[in-house]
Symmetry: D2
Subunit: 339 residues, 4 copies
Amino acid sequence: MAGDRKALSVALIGAGRIGSMHAEHLARHIPAAMLAAVVDLDAASARACADRYGVSWTTRLEHVLHDAAINAVVICTSSTTHTEIIEAAAASGKHIFCEKPLDLSLERIDRALRAVRDGGVLLQVGYQRRFDAGFQRVQRAIVTEEIGVPHSIHIASRDPAPPSLEFLKKSGGLFLDMSIHDFDMTHFLLGQPIRRVFATGAVRINSAIGAIGDVDTATVLLQAEDGTLITIENSRKATFGYDQRLEVFGSKGSIRVENVSPNSAVILGKDGERRDNPHHFFIERYRDAYVAELRAFADAILHGRDSPLSGEDARVSVEIALAATQSLETSLPVDLVSA
Amino acid sequence: MAGDRKALSVALIGAGRIGSMHAEHLARHIPAAMLAAVVDLDAASARACADRYGVSWTTRLEHVLHDAAINAVVICTSSTTHTEIIEAAAASGKHIFCEKPLDLSLERIDRALRAVRDGGVLLQVGYQRRFDAGFQRVQRAIVTEEIGVPHSIHIASRDPAPPSLEFLKKSGGLFLDMSIHDFDMTHFLLGQPIRRVFATGAVRINSAIGAIGDVDTATVLLQAEDGTLITIENSRKATFGYDQRLEVFGSKGSIRVENVSPNSAVILGKDGERRDNPHHFFIERYRDAYVAELRAFADAILHGRDSPLSGEDARVSVEIALAATQSLETSLPVDLVSA
Amino acid sequence: MAGDRKALSVALIGAGRIGSMHAEHLARHIPAAMLAAVVDLDAASARACADRYGVSWTTRLEHVLHDAAINAVVICTSSTTHTEIIEAAAASGKHIFCEKPLDLSLERIDRALRAVRDGGVLLQVGYQRRFDAGFQRVQRAIVTEEIGVPHSIHIASRDPAPPSLEFLKKSGGLFLDMSIHDFDMTHFLLGQPIRRVFATGAVRINSAIGAIGDVDTATVLLQAEDGTLITIENSRKATFGYDQRLEVFGSKGSIRVENVSPNSAVILGKDGERRDNPHHFFIERYRDAYVAELRAFADAILHGRDSPLSGEDARVSVEIALAATQSLETSLPVDLVSA
Amino acid sequence: MAGDRKALSVALIGAGRIGSMHAEHLARHIPAAMLAAVVDLDAASARACADRYGVSWTTRLEHVLHDAAINAVVICTSSTTHTEIIEAAAASGKHIFCEKPLDLSLERIDRALRAVRDGGVLLQVGYQRRFDAGFQRVQRAIVTEEIGVPHSIHIASRDPAPPSLEFLKKSGGLFLDMSIHDFDMTHFLLGQPIRRVFATGAVRINSAIGAIGDVDTATVLLQAEDGTLITIENSRKATFGYDQRLEVFGSKGSIRVENVSPNSAVILGKDGERRDNPHHFFIERYRDAYVAELRAFADAILHGRDSPLSGEDARVSVEIALAATQSLETSLPVDLVSA
């Protein structure tokens, strides 16, 4: 494939489920980038992933950071290691794509963002929903004032089933693990500071989730600088699959996106009209968005553009998630001091 | 129409817009009831309405309350007069259908409800949405556990345009005038106490509404006794007409009702796929529900059944509306003490 | 109800299922008309219906035809008696609303239409679908050229279950009994002559229907004067209820109407997204249309307007239905000679 | 990409629009196949396409047919050359994927199919719609009897705009160029012989199309062996884009697939509810299906399975298209003699 020139050599760091997906996309679907190496502490995982695409592998991060042929890294390790790897990569002059969340601590995030600025590299964070055709359509309706000025937003965001309790214990709680995507979506759509956060929650699905101090059902109410009211409904378990809906109501009208189905079939029978359920979970639902975010990453680097989803952007949703966590604990609204 | 026996003789009190509609329904669409008299302080209004159906009219309430042939009254006067008329009617042994809200004061409501109990008459309050086919379908899905146990509810409830400032000044504010329907819907669907209310609001449509101390855009978050989270989005102005949508998410699934359109046409053209807007406002949207509530009123009296929407039911939404008003003023959640 | 002035006194002829429905509409829902008498050969049926509204009844048609106080008749007897009654009513100077079809013979129809013209009365035929909000919306889209010039029409028209074999034997066959509504719809929408008819059919539901020489499943293809291609799909049995859909494709776009549901509920669960079935059959589906057609009848008489659905209009669909019957028998297209 | 083992070496023959698309899919999206060479009579086209993927190119078909390293060919040349190339490829022992139609002559098709059988190679024809998720869902509903036994099928199949007159002159007419996809779909869904064809058509879009003896609007009625009635509506121009809808009505219910949109957005505003138009044309609409058909081709070869869409399958739709053409010319139904 000599003729298929790929300008960017990318190392994948972390070859788990999401890392393997990004590897596939880098190897096949991003004309401007190529997968050059795979890093994983687990040699077997690293090798398995690397062999699939005929690239080299290693268990040592330094190997790729010291490799001048590598232009960028895609970080898919566990959340607690993100900022440390970002700092090392930035120091080595590698551009960085990092899975969400950057970290659960604003201090560690700020330190990492300083490192990124000092390194003069580009950092993009993996909130893939921003690259979904539906949500981009909504954003366009706002930017072009097709629906006028937004007055309120409603997000329904639910998973098909809770993750393991083990995972949940380290997740930082529902708001930092799950709602954070919706906070980022709000930031994407409105692009203005949130001034107040009020969070409510309940344990309705699994009492074991309550036992570890978390909730499995929550509704968060945000108010933006200009008064726009945002409601986010979350649940760890929707029997009908992955629930990802959103509506923005504005001065001229409203735009909503509905769940995306694998087919457009409508079946009529004696029990009524039926459609198949939406895509079951994020890998299928956001397949195109995951490709698009890496494409945007490669394009931004190659054309010297700003990051399409900077560390500063990503910091915002962590800040809101921490405020929501506090609001739930205190049963009081939390005011965010605008920068 | 001698053969068309109507068991119930009903006097209409207040022949304004909503009263005229009820008169039409009583005269034509409620087999078990007949319009017998019209009362209005304004003689011309009373006469115009009465003449349409060939019945008697008066400007004096006593005339109908002292008329032994009258079995029931339908009260459509301005809100501030409701409790007083209820008390007089109850004392005269007339059954009572009263438009919402009963009153803006819980004390006056309680006094009126005592009068109703003392009079041994039936009182039904006019939250017509409970009689809408769609919302009844939702309630049935809850009662039959078609969607399992409710975990959260989302209501979008918006008017096509704000009423006059004059009206707004006396309305008691958005929560007592408009959201109160949604609070009643919540009570209808869940049938359990609300323990906490948090209300947010903004002036986004007309600054004159802010100037009189009200909001025109609001989102209220309720939490029910069992933890169920309810979100209500209100606006005084939806360009696309009357917005009346609702979704209940439960342990086994979800049910929502969408806006109701005057036709099922879908138009395809170069600018996309288009459907006509929903019914413009409540008179058209709830035409069938308005008939159904009066039918239920007549049936309950004739068959000695309990009121399908009692004064005690109607008191609940006033209580929540007052709490929401307080929450908006204080920017704090308000706890409701359960009875 | 002295004040409720009804200008038109109407006698119902034939107090069966559809007649009883029209009686109810005349008595309650048509401000401009009043039910004045009921005629039925069966005294019990006549009396039962008349008593419901406190009007007189008779088993003798002459009684109402000779009654100068009666302005109009609504004919709901069996099809074979229609033309004879029309002729008698026309001779008596009564305006006539007649259920479909006028007759299965063009000769008898023509004789009856002459009698109508000679009597100087108004005749309206009961193809109620023309008065349905959805189909009227489609017609408006054609008339206003919202979809440009029509190029093709597709009608899906299916019953929930076949009628009794007894009924079918006298029905004239699928095209004269059932498709005739769709032929009338085509005439309503296009308002131009049909030049060619090709009909296909099959026995797929009940072989007993085949045994009496009829089909239970059919597709008819019409071509209009200007080339517009019309397809009509019929079936005697749709498990999901009454199927009444239509799409007109034109030079600027397309408009379709979908089935009408009793509610707008959407239920999500593990087996997919579900909606309740449409209205089960014509009485529920076309409730408003049945009222509207009688309202139009009364209005046309009172305002001296042309019949909204004349005998000449109604003759067209019989002509097409006869051609379709012939086409099915010969397996060949049938050309209609334009007038 | 040494590690990315591709078992099948494929030569592309014909590097035009559809050929370039297949090249991209072979190079990137079919794990089991790799693009190995590009053949085009036009050297510039061949080179441009080959260079994109770093593979060799030639203007001489023999070069790839004599190349033992090549396992299969994908034929995307103009229709008139298909059978000749198929014969040469079969003689060289290359497996063959050929774009539709095989040819417009049943004789030439039969000769080519004999060559395929003699060569012992696999031939798959490019009716990509069979590999679309929606249509596959419909087929599954038939096979599993989810909708019972099919009674009728309705296909709406319209292009966004007519091709050039130059193209149309050589196309064989609407039925052989456009409806042929729908005939194939019918064959795919029912898998039983068609016994009768009746075709109607009109010139409604562009009189120049009529001047070359073709129609631009057509409706074809087929009847299958068991009586199932199939209607196909075609048009060369739908203002709203590519119209690809289908409904199968059966003894237990009905299944339809609607057009596929690039997003699920619904916009509400004063002019009604709006959705964006469906994908504009076949390249976008069937992107996934085009990948899936080549994947199925590679898999069938590698696992020694039968062709998923054989030459014999593809012959069926040509036979129906020729009968439709004859029916249109004679204005009579055409009976097909079953094999």
